[in-house]
Amino acid sequence: MNTKDIFNFLKPKNELENQGEFAQNHPYIPEELWVKCPVCKNVILSSDLVDNHKVCTKCNYHFRIAARQRIEMTVDEGTFSETDADMSSKNIIDFPDYTRKLKNAKINSGENESVITGTAKIGGTDTVIAVMNSQFMMGSMGTVTGEKITRAFEYATEHKLPIVIFTVSGGARMQEGIMSLMQMAKTSGAAKLHSDAGLLYITVLTDPTTGGVTASFAMEGDIILAEPHALIGFAGPRVIEQTIRQKLPKDFQSAEFLLEKGFVDAVVQRKDMKQTLAKLLKLHCKAKKEEVNEDERV
């Protein structure tokens, strides 16, 4: 392996997405032995990185991870059951080049859409879970993304289950025009009915969560958690810099910044995420049991 390969591996897959030919001939990026941290430039043995939940052993940078990996890290082994796995987007408004982009996104990510939904147990508690995928068009929200998330909420409401959503998104999917904007209203409506039913919704904001996802279900959780240093905002930093014509402070829109400003309940290390979710789910699950008991007494 030469140094050039190392740097190719370091590029997030979505950056390779535009290299259509490359993407088609090389759908899988090979597992390399060494990985360089993009923040501290430390070179880490990739097996060490995996053992450390894909967090840099030196500077605590949380590498972006694929949705499947996230699910594996989060749910009790063997409990995940996927829903709507086959749903995939169509070029609904005949947007130029979208059909090809979708095809490449599928090849690069190995997934059909920018979100995976299903049911699972976390720390023994039954929950609905949705995990967005940055490797699929930067987690942008298309009609199918919105539909899968809406169905996840509706399933949770119907079965009186909590829901946990991991967000990662560049925002609405421009290639679906207004239909992508409508997903913000659709998912928010489903979140509201779930909330009105007295059920728990936990969001986990991961790097990056921006645009239409921030301005809809990402910010609608009863409890909002975030991964360290994740970029979270409505407008992207470049758009803001262009608007106000000045450089932004260094940690602006970081998870820690949002915690300070009061928009996030807690910043949780990746290694602690599963037990944190398990604890929160259990606390709310207990309240549900008491309710049932009361009903029985009546």
């Binding site: 207004i178 409508m182 209203a185 928010s188 409506g189 910010m219």
Partner: protein
Amino acid sequence: MSAYDCVIAARANDRPTSIDYITRIFGDSFFELHGDRRFSDDKAVVGGIAELNGEPITVIGLEKGRNLKERMYRNFGSSHPEGYRKALRLMKQAEKFKRPVICFVDTSGAYCGIGAEERGQGQAIAENLMEMMTLRTPILSIFIGEGGSGGALALAVSDEVWMLENAIYSVISPEGCASILWKDSSKTAEASECLKLTSQDLFKLGVIERIIREPKDVDSKLFDSLKNLIASTFEKKMAIAPEKLIESRYNRFRKF
């Protein structure tokens, strides 16, 4: 007219703004209410109570301003989180007093800046989307000029959405779309076509219920007919039980 002609018309400086509509439709009955009770009073959002054919109504509008001085005062119609929070406060008030809500939408988008982010622009919009979906009183939104993305949607989770013939409604500005798609922000005309942002396109897509014809020169006929249309629409909607209203509002968005 091409899609790009619509973009130009929707942004034209001599186009009537929300305050024009409010003044011409509700006249002296409009009483302005200020502030979000959290942080400040956002000048890009005008809101208050008025009378429509003798019935009380809550009126909210995104206001761009009618001359340069006003436009600067109104932040060119781009609201901070406070504007959306003021709007929601007034909607909740309307719910309490069982009066309908009308929103006039005209914005290039929610403001992108340091203060807006610090005070939760995303959270403010998200809360409006959630709360409007189950508001127990009818909501009607009329797009009178620009409908820029989430900043417009935050006042448009409504029972019906109408558009002026030459208004636009889009997930991203054509300039933004062109610069992402072709790395060339001057290809605005092509991008306008691709985005399907005209009233005709949006009607075909089922995103809006009604297109309001625009006379060549805006005269009192437009405002008079709009006033009658609003009044008769609310008369019907107010007769519907809140649960039914919410159910059909949910289904209106569920189909997308």
